[in-house]
Subunit: 238 residues, 2 copies
DNA sequence: CAGTTACGCTACGACTCGTAGCGAAAGCTC
DNA sequence: GAGCTTTCGCTACGAGTCGTAGCGTAACTG
């Protein structure tokens, strides 16, 4: 069962939001003189191995049966090391799943419709992975009673998706497909609405209806959304 | 801690889908001669007390910290009784939450827009309850690795919501707000799509974005959806 | 070199899980 | 009523997980 231990020649950890639990950090600021970090540094390879092991364990066991002890064994790391870096299962899984969303991009496909279809298909492909399926909803469920966890999800997963909406709209406005916004507050509200509609629809299709968000579905969805957006914008402009 | 024990003068259990685990039942059909159920009947009051206690425990503890032992104590019932009726935490919570959706209805408000707004607001009100928030996403997450559980969710929660979509469309077609469907297969696909968009958007808004689906939001959402539907339908009709 | 921090390992009490076994209670049929 | 059947409450149990403490060692800094 025990996998080959991680090669331990390492340096420099803390890629994303530092995995919590650094006694010398307060509010994200280092207390001691900048980078006066003495002592043995944390193994960055261990970080990577733990997050990868977490995803493997999610596929094998699912969320509820996943134990930190098993993840540690899988990563070739002591259980105590895991607890030194993450506060618990929730935080660990959020970081492990967040990496899946690193690949989300918004290539310019020339039209708003094509841009939407492209990003929705990317999002659907990520959600199609078993580790994302079982983990995403679970941590969201936990976050309803855990404000810091919700914040962690927001910054490391949700906001990155939301940025794509803003970028796509800016492009469409530059192309003349959408009218420029007059009221900035109203623009924010609309962007948030569109984000909830897009992300919510894909998630619901994939996880609740348990059917694939394939090209045909994405085309239908995009058409309705696009007609709704341009039509509603035209209404408002009158 | 121990609540007053359930009044035990009872009869006739099995309101919804019989809570599982009846050794004399196979595939939902009784094996012995019809209704030859001899012996002491299960307490229906205990069923109700258990489901209510489950919701209370969800509010107090959330999904992950909820234990069947605590639910049993809260309901004034032995833990073994609980295990005799439900296979586990997942099934119990699905039944407990499903009752929340009993109140979903679709009163005729005279127009498609008003009908959509009404049902979305109802759905949002249910999702606003803490027990629904923490439980719904959790069981959906579990269902990604548990086909029977997914089926249970589908029949006792999802399908009931979906029926409202079909009913709303039929009304709108009767009013002439939407064109009648020609291809029945295409009609099914469109209904499923709309359902995913509506339910997904509300869930995402409430749980992921963690902001209320209030009247203003619902109005904006309905406008986009309605324009998208009627516009796209008009496009297709050409 | 001394000082500091991270790591692997072992062990621990506390808790939950799901089940088994028992006697008593609550229905039904004859 | 007697007799049968099933449920109920209760206790007890082994198995497994949790999160932490303590220790000796490894890695890096000045």
């Amino acid at each position: 069962m025990r996998r080959p231990p991680v090669i331990s020649l390492t340096t420099s950890p803390n890629r994303r939001i530092s995995p919590v639990k650094r006694p010398d950090m307060v509010n994200g600021m280092q207390c001691r003189s900048r980078s006066a970090r003495t002592g043995r540094p944390r193994s960055a390879a261990a970080d990577a191995a733990i997050l990868a092991a977490t995803r493997t364990a999610l596929v094998e066991l699912g969320w509820s049966k996943l134990t930190l002890g098993y993840v540690a064994t899988l990563a070739g790391v002591a259980k105590t090391t895991l607890y030194r870096r993450w506060a618990g299962k929730n935080e660990l899984v959020v970081d492990a799943v967040a990496e899946l969303f690193d690949e989300l991009e918004l290539p310019d496909r020339g039209s708003l419709a094509a841009d939407i279809e492209g990003v929705v298909l990317q999002f659907a492909a990520i959600l199609d992975r078993p580790e994302a399926k079982t983990a995403l909803m679970a941590v969201v469920a936990e976050s309803t009673r855990d404000e810091p966890l919700r914040e962690r999800i927001r910054t490391s997963i949700v906001d990155r998706q939301k940025r794509l909406v803003l970028e796509g709209r800016a492009r469409a406005q530059a192309r003349g497909e959408l009218p420029p916004e007059s009221d900035p507050a109203d623009a924010d509200r609309t962007a948030a609405l569109i984000f909830d509609v897009v992300a919510g629809a894909v998630v619901h299709r994939t996880l609740v209806s348990a059917e694939p968000a394939d090209e045909e579905w994405v085309r239908s969805f995009t058409r309705i959304l696009l007609v709704g957006l341009t039509g509603a914008a035209a209404d408002a402009a009158q």
